[in-house]
Amino acid sequence: MSAIQPPAQRVWWKQPVDRVEIVWIAIALVWCLIMFFFMPWWHVYGEQNYSGEAYRVNPQEYVEKVNAFVEQYTVRRETPQQIPVVRPPAGSDVYLLGRLWQWYPILELEAGETYRFHVSSADWQHGLSIQPININFQVLPGYDMVLNVTPTEPGEYAVVCNEYCGIMHHTMMSRIYVVDKD
């Protein structure tokens, strides 16, 4: 019962190690290093990364930016609540706001174009989850997160909140329309 007893040999660190252990450690170490270097490799050669770009922002000021953005580019309104659908010019800054319990506004983007996509929260933490492609980010009040996003396939995407944000969390949903260029 030696795992619950002191080692049999006082100088246990000189006990020879079986080859099976050494071979396995070597193989496992190689795999660990492959996984490790794969992450920076993907930053160079992969196309799904986040650079870490973000700015501290006062939530109130962020809301004002979103409102100005909505005012400038709204093309129509949808749903009985008259939620604005905003279609910014290709390549421009896009603002998305998470708040209790709504993603605001609805966005209409062109497939194949790259947008500077800002997202932040006006109140509590939220989770930006774009379905069905299932891409997910954490959204924090006070932080303006910036991603350069290129929607590739036209279609209707759901924007779900997947960070718990209170009793109506499950109703917090919006849309992103991705359309073909003109």
Binding site: A3, Y143, M145
Partner: protein, 569 residues
Amino acid sequence: MNKPQFRTCPDTGLVFHRPAENLIKANAVAAVIFLAVGGVLGLLVALTRWPAVQILNAQDFYTVLTGHGVVMLLVWIIYFEIALMYFCSAVLLRSRIATPKLGWVAFWMMLIGAAITSWAIIGGSSSVMMTSYVPMPADPKFYFGLILFAVGALIGTFIFFGTLAIAREEKTYEGSIPLVTFGALTAAILAVFTIACGAIILIPTWLWSIGYISEIDPLMYRLVWWGLGHTSQQINVAAQVSIWYAIAALVFGARPMSEKVSRGAFFLYILFISVASAHHLLGDPGLSTEWKIFNTSYVMYLAVLASLVHGLTVPGSIEVAQREKGHNKGLFEWLRKAPWGNPVFSGMFLSLVGFGFIGGISGVVMGSEQVNFLIHNTIYVPGHFHATVVLGTTLAFMAMSLWLVPVLFRRKLFMPGLAKWQPWLFGIGTALQTLFMMGAGTLGVSRRHWDMAFTGAPFEWAYPGMAHTLMALNGVSAIIAVLGGIAFVVVIVGTVLFGKRTSPAEYSAARPAILRGPAESLIGHGQIGLGVKGFPAPGTFVLAMFLLLIFVVYFFVNYGYLASVWRFS
């Protein structure tokens, strides 16, 4: 001075110091009671997330989910770990326990802390999830109870350190501490780091909740809170690996294949495993790429390497012991001839396999910086950590309890027929749950979400039909797992209350004999295996390579899917 305080167990030869024994009993019993409470809450969660059942309303669901997280991840596990630390120090080293009175202070602080936090949750004012992300506020009691609980746990941890010091000072053992105690020491060191993180973030948050601090930065909160939240899971890993080694020793008389390798692997945990806070921040704004890669990989995956090493050496030591007993035919005779009807072994082995194949692989793959975008905040995450904390840790703790409780209470196991099935019910039910949750998460289903049909949302959106099916299957599997949990509680509580008494405990005033290592010399394992020199555990090696194959394929499948979605940078 010479009160009769030590007894030697006639069945196991272990030496119990009476105050240590009482503390172990109290902490273990508290643990099992909280496990029972948390299990009921867990069943309610799973039944609510089964779309056709949805047993709770939204408000109750979030309250129950908060309670389930706190009771299971903190209270049950940490109570058991305190008992385990006392066992691995005082009992395994044949020592008296340090400051038993403080041990009781710790016990009551934890109990009162847990009660205060539970009171806040039951009141409905603190449905903030276990993570209590600011700025969503909880009742000040919620944080205060957790702080009290953590301080109690910290005292318990220092009693463990104190007992190690006493054992060394009073020379109760010869040579180095046993491997299992070394693993418990690893867990205890990680616990100090964990509890420090908890104090650093929960004390200001408590002050914020009563108005003395105006703002807690949400990103800083997440960074430090996960130093508590994730590292506490690494305590579990160290504790459960220690239990695997202990059970291998108790059931098979297995010796570590190499003390150096196994201890070295624990040492890698101490050095590198506590940086895992980053796993939770990969989709957060602002942190640099270098920081994320360095930390999410536990520094080039050196702590993952440690787990891969234990994954070979634990079953390897069993294989060597079995082969030396004559089960030396072919690759797997040692495994076929293992005592599958002994719940102590079957629980331990299911824990090992489930943790490695499901929890370990999913955890590392989802912790890769970019793959994380595919699973962050989806129910894949609870799928993963139920494979580690429930299938891995809880099942290992159950297996240990089934061995330890009869020894502690000097009673025979109650309903041994039920006990035989317990690990299988619990293990298979939980394993299915983890797979179904991970499947649903892959399809986008959110964690911490009352209604996957989004009733009342301004838009219609439906997950694939398969996602609904998987959540239903998760509910069914939860019922199986809970049956296994009930079996466990019945067997343990039944043993304590009604188990047939074995010989009564006889305490002696004499100091126990010095603990020595086994007499036989350990130079290699030459005579066993399939004739390949230096490969005494070929079956285990093949299983390990099989795990690696699945690991590699799953890693690249995920990056392959990621490459197909929108581009972002």
